[in-house]
């Protein structure tokens, strides 16, 4: 576009122009509508605005200051943002070009990205668009995208469900890497089915709440990981060490039923945990109390009984002043 008027032009039938540009407007030299594309006519509720002033029907929102035909001609070839004064929500993109010999202006409009809304609001069909228009492809994409997003959302939901199920079935305590309550139950069931005699320890940390309260949860988590390290170091590969509550641990020791041997292990664990730990330069002091029992004291061997007896022994240890191990009192 160099702004100069060509002195020759093409002539085209109104019907052919309507097919090429179903949303065009022809304006006379004084800005009156002399022709209107059929799709645009639909948007105007079938009232073809022949003889009406373009600027009374439409507002050119951008570029600013286009309020008469001279301004429109001076913007020839530029992208225009136009809206119907009667329907302020309806935005169009447009371009205006002058007709030959000062016979007026031809404006072509399109919906731009609001095409999907326009199609719904005005019940437009394929025939309302020029065959070259990519409106169909845009509508197709909107719909394809919606369908794909739905599939992805469904997939995410299923994966989320699978993740929850996997977590429920997991056997590891995420924080310490020890076994969890579920794994403990499985390990107990296994040694009982095999008929292996075993020792059981129930350990509870002393003063752990104070560490959490004064130094924060990060320090508490650090302490729990340190405790796990000590428990792993002081037990054998075949033993099951489980964290079963915030600061509660249960150890299953297959083949170990002699009170002296169990007491020695418990003593080493307590001695180790009595050593102060540091977290970010701060000392964290805890200790541990342990209750113990052995499967040979039961017939039949019932894990729930053993756990509750070990728990009772644990509280006896706490009452006796903490930082010690107590064997289940017989009877």
């Amino acid at each position: 576009m160099d702004g100069t008027m060509p002195d020759t032009g093409i002539r085209i039938e109104a019907a052919a122009l309507a097919r090429l540009m179903p949303m065009h407007l022809c304006l006379s030299a004084d800005g009156m509508v002399t022709g209107c594309g059929p799709t645009l006519g639909k948007l105007l509720d079938g009232q073809v605005p022949l003889g009406k002033c373009f600027f009374a029907l439409f507002e050119v929102r951008r570029p600013a200051g286009v309020g008469d035909l001279a301004a429109l001609v001076s913007r020839a070839g530029q992208r225009l943002h136009v809206q119907l004064r009667a329907k302020p929500g309806t935005g169009f993109r447009g371009v205006a070009v002058p007709l030959v010999a000062g016979e007026g202006v031809l404006i072509n409009l399109s919906f731009g990205i609001s095409v999907a809304d326009a199609v719904r609001d005005h019940a437009l069909t394929d025939a309302d668009f020029a065959p070259t228009d990519l409106a169909m492809e845009l509508l197709y994409l909107v719909e394809a995208k919606t369908a794909v997003m739905k599939e992805l959302r469904d997939l995410n939901r299923r994966l989320e469900g699978a993740k929850t199920a996997a977590e429920e079935q997991a056997l590891t305590d995420m924080l310490t890497g020890l076994r969890n309550r579920r794994a403990l139950d499985l390990a107990l069931a296994q040694v009982i089915v095999r008929g292996t005699a075993f020792g059981l320890m129930h350990m509870d940390l002393d003063y752990f709440k104070a560490v959490n309260d004064t130094l924060g949860h990060a320090a508490g988590d650090h302490v729990l990981r340190e405790v796990a390290r000590v428990l792993r170091a002081q037990t054998r590969g075949g033993d099951t060490v489980a964290r079963v509550g915030g600061d509660e641990f249960v150890i299953v020791l297959p083949g170990l039923v002699e009170a002296g041997a169990l007491g020695a292990i418990a003593g080493r664990i307590i001695a180790q945990l009595d050593q102060p730990m540091t977290f970010e330069g701060q000392f964290c002091r805890i200790s541990a109390s342990i209750g113990m029992t052995v499967s040979t004291a039961y017939d039949p061997v019932r894990p729930d009984r053993m756990l509750s007896d070990a728990d009772e022994a644990l509280y006896e240890a706490k009452r006796a002043g903490r930082g010690r191990a107590v064997f289940r009192s017989v009877g």
């Binding site: 719904r120 437009l124 394929d126 197709y140 719909e143 997939l155």
Partner: protein, 195 residues
């Protein structure tokens, strides 16, 4: 093959013959899982194994199962979106036929890794065409026959369709358009329904 294709086959078998049959098919085909995920990709051999297992368990020719699959894909309410996406191809059935060349391109617009069958329409006459179909799935032509039959119904067109066997360009389907506006056809609104 894309999970979307495999998932559609699963939905077809499950909705047409029941969940128990699908479970048997998944087992016979040796999938190693219960459900295809639409947004994942699978080995092409699994798709073939599923069709083979379905044909054996249903005691029906493989070709018939594939053709029913094609019809199901565009006529079942559960897969309404696929019918709509195909209807965007054209206002008339002939328009639609000519849009089939664009099918893989349209598929990729929706999902970059979706490889739909390569379809090539030929025919000088206005009522007789041949369509060459190429895809990793042997028997794809039968799927297309079923799909075109359902789409013709959708447009209200009366057509004769025949699988003509395989040529160099792939499996060949002949299309004889007897009447383009035989029945009213189904309504097609461009706008997406609310929801």
């Amino acid at each position: 093959m894309h999970g979307l294709v495999n998932r559609s086959i699963q939905v077809f078998l499950r909705d047409t013959y029941g969940a128990a049959l699908w479970t048997d098919v998944a087992q016979t085909a040796g999938l190693g899982f219960d459900n295809f995920e639409a947004m994942l990709s699978y080995d092409d051999r699994l798709t073939d194994a599923v069709i083979g297992a379905a044909a054996r368990l249903l005691d029906r020719p493989r070709e018939a199962v594939l053709e029913d699959l094609g019809t199901f894909l565009v006529s079942h309410p559960n897969l309404e979106s696929l019918r709509r996406l195909l209807r965007f191809g054209g206002v008339t059935f002939v328009d639609f036929l000519h849009s089939l060349d664009d099918l893989p391109g349209r598929g990729r617009l929706a999902l970059a890794d979706l490889d739909l069958p390569l379809l090539e329409l030929q025919g000088e006459a206005t009522d007789r065409f041949t369509l060459a179909c190429r895809a990793p799935l042997p028997g794809i032509g039968h799927v297309i026959v079923g799909l075109l039959r359902a789409m013709a119904d959708d447009y209200g067109a009366l057509v004769l369709l025949e699988h003509e066997g395989s040529g160099l360009a792939g499996e060949v389907v002949s299309i004889h358009l007897l009447e383009s506006q035989f029945a009213a056809g189904r309504r097609f609104d461009l706008a997406v329904r609310a929801g």
